[in-house]
């Protein structure tokens, strides 16, 4: 009897368990659906929040860049010839007067021919109320600021292209010998030229672009040769780049230390800092042209360029010849750095540090990275040029490359410490 009751209790417990299981099964799809909806809603909320974060970063850097550019416009140009007289800032009101005058003299007559007649009168009026030569200095400064902004952008984007192509956050165009090629070009110019870049800008451009490009071509040609001539091998390219860079470095050091006399060395030093290149119309024209033919294609291809970080097979199976795309990215990057160094001197460190910094601040997608590098590269180089404006040791101007290195190192260490673990 007792045993029968026990059996009945056991059976009823089994039936209850089975019913509970059936009910749970019936409710499971519904509860899973609710769970999925909640997680999808959470993901959408996160997407919106992160989108806003990225937008905030872009707006913050955009405003900071605009402010720095404005500050740069307010500084009079202090070139090699006026070394030691810098360190002043024109009042913003006077600077704006200059730009108003520039607009009246340059842009307004395009729409009204009669305004040409007022040119002399307006200049005369301006010179009565403002410091002598200020108009020329400020307008020169505007051009210099524009060129520095363009160079900052190109240096940062060139680093981004190389780091993505080599899938390595330490890659820069210098690894293919661009910087050392340019230095060799400067040495040759110091021997052949007339002393300053403004005296013979054509020869200067020929030397620096020629030797810079030649170094890259030699690396690419040799790496294709040792890779069997079929495809470029990234590691072969890097190894050869390192060898050629070291070779050029050795040649440059030997010539500077044992072959050059002191006078030629001084010329070389000024030329290597790009001296008055920044204010030469020919150099400005060439760098503007290089900007258009390199940065604009990179901008147009900014989504597709994501694929250069992936393998050729993956790219091909997504319908893209990513080997060709990577080759294009390397050529664009090397040309960008070449043009920037030829215009403002050796600041290759920017190509390494800015993409590294942006990778920490913004999403890895090339579109975000491109925008971030353009803004931060511009801002950072302008800041360095502003600092250089005041940084004098005696009458010697501190090279902008030195300022870039000093300014960047603490940021770099900070970013490495914060970003540890984001890649391996």
């Amino acid at each position: 009897m007792v045993s029968g009751n026990k059996d009945r209790g056991y059976v009823s417990r089994i039936i209850e368990s089975a019913r509970a299981l059936r009910e749970r099964d019936a409710f499971e799809p519904a509860s899973r659906m609710v769970g999925d909806t909640i997680s999808a809603a959470r993901a959408k909320a996160e997407t919106r929040a992160q989108g806003k974060d990225t937008r905030r970063v872009v707006i913050a850097f955009g405003l900071a860049t605009a402010f720095i550019a404005l500050l740069s416009l307010c500084l009079p140009y202090r070139g090699i010839d006026t070394m030691g007289s810098g360190g002043t800032i024109y009042p913003l009101g006077d600077v704006l007067d200059c730009y108003r005058l520039w607009f009246d003299l340059t842009i307004a007559p395009l729409f009204d021919n009669t305004l040409y007649n007022l040119t002399t009168l307006k200049l005369a009026q301006f010179s009565q109320t403002h410091e002598g030569g200020m108009y020329t200095m400020v307008t020169n400064r505007a051009m210099a600021t524009a060129i520095v902004a363009v160079c900052g952008m190109m240096l940062a984007v060139s680093g981004l292209l190389f780091q993505a192509s080599f899938r390595n956050p330490l890659a820069t165009p210098s690894m293919l010998g661009v910087s050392d090629g340019v230095t060799l070009g400067c040495i040759v110019f110091a021997w052949l030229g007339n002393g300053s870049i403004s005296e013979d800008p054509g020869l200067y451009l020929l030397c620096v672009y020629g030797f810079g490009a030649a170094a890259v071509v030699v690396v690419l040609f040799l790496s294709r040769g040792i890779s069997g001539g079929a495809r470029y091998n990234v590691f072969d390219m890097l190894l050869l780049g390192t060898v050629i860079t070291q070779l050029l470095n050795g040649v440059n050091a030997f010539v500077q230390n044992f072959v050059m006399d002191y006078g030629t060395w001084q010329l070389f030093y000024n030329v290597q800092q790009a001296g008055d290149a920044l204010h030469d119309p020919l150099v400005q024209g060439v760098v503007a042209g290089v900007f258009v033919i390199t940065v604009v294609p990179a901008l147009m291809l900014r989504f597709r360029l994501n694929l250069i970080a992936f393998s050729n097979d993956e790219g091909r199976m997504m319908g893209v010849r990513s080997g060709l795309l990577r080759g294009l990215a390397l050529v664009l990057g090397a040309t960008m750095q070449l043009a920037a160094i030829a215009s403002i001197g050796q600041v290759a460190m920017l190509s390494l540090a800015v993409p590294f910094l942006v990778r920490y601040l913004m999403p890895s997608d090339f579109r975000s990275q491109f925008l971030g590098n353009c803004l931060i590269g511009t801002a950072l180089l302008l800041v360095c040029m502003i600092i250089q404006h005041f940084a004098l040791i005696g009458i010697i101007t501190v090279p902008v490359g030195t300022i870039v290195s000093i300014l960047i190192i603490p940021f770099f260490v900070w970013v490495i410490a914060l970003g540890r673990g984001r890649w391996s």
Binding site: A309, G319, R367
Partner: protein
């Protein structure tokens, strides 16, 4: 859709094929598992079919058209490839990685709202939409594999080519990935995948291409090709094929090693 491989020889060195006279077909809604020991040429076969390495003999046709001279763009419009052991280069967000699958359809334009919608659908299909904002370097191995399959789906292909999609995954992730692959075949995709486990072919109730080092390949239904004798010949170990009935009354087969 029908992919047909006829009398194909493949290998890395000209004149020294690792596989000769490979013949098989994959149609819409079918799964084809490529089995074989290490080094028998499974990945080489895939790369040859996809045109990533040159074919030494034979032909590959898609709906009767020889694909030998197809451009990457045309090939990518019908086939998507998930490679073995993808290494993330940078911490891209999951959505950005999957969006790359749209490159072929977008040309040189930037992604549109419809591209993002297709990406979201692919992520939903793989059940990983909640990872959308995560860096794909931070997801688990199984999730990473699903992200890669979602990227392939975003290409809107007719045929998915998966090279060892379950390699280095734990048991739970293996079952999850296989379950998604079965789901994709039910939706009408043709799937061809390499695997080291004959059980996966049984789980998918698929066709099997069995490659061996020194013998000709075999192609047929899993139940016909995965036999105790064939397994011993291919892998050099004894196995027992065990059968059991699932709760739904379906007969399942598994390979059990014999020690």
């Amino acid at each position: 859709m029908k992919l047909a491989v006829r009398d194909m020889s493949c290998g890395w060195e000209t004149g020294r094929p690792v596989q000769r006279y490979v013949n098989f077909t994959v149609a819409s809604g079918e799964i084809c598992c490529v089995l074989g020991p290490n080094g028998c040429g499974k990945s080489t076969l895939f790369k040859t079919v996809l045109g990533l390495i040159p074919r030494q003999a034979g032909s590959v046709s898609f709906d009767g058209e020889n694909i030998a001279r197809w451009s990457p763009k045309k090939l990518a419009s019908v086939m998507a490839y998930v490679s073995q052991g993808h290494t993330p280069p940078f911490p891209y967000k999951v959505r950005d990685v999957v969006l790359l699958g749209r490159t072929n359809k977008m040309g040189y334009a930037q992604p549109s709202a419809s591209d993002y919608q297709i990406v979201d659908n692919a992520l939903n299909d793989m059940g990983i939409y909640d990872l959308v904002e995560k860096p794909y370097t931070d997801v688990s191995g199984g999730e990473l594999q699903l992200v890669m399959i979602a990227r392939a789906l975003a290409q809107q292909p007719q045929l998915l080519v998966l090279d060892e999609p379950t390699a280095a995954l734990d048991y739970g992730n293996v079952v999850r990935v296989i379950s998604k692959v079965r789901g994709l075949a039910k939706k009408g995709y043709g799937v061809i995948m390499t695997t080291h486990s004959p059980d996966h072919a049984f789980m998918c109730n698929s066709n099997v291409v069995l490659l061996q080092r020194n013998a000709s390949m075999q192609f047929g239904r899993a139940v016909d090709v995965i036999t105790e004798r064939n397994m011993r010949d291919a892998y050099g170990v004894g196995v027992k094929i065990v059968e059991f009935m699932t709760r739904e009354g379906e007969i399942m087969r598994m390979c059990a090693p014999v020690f």
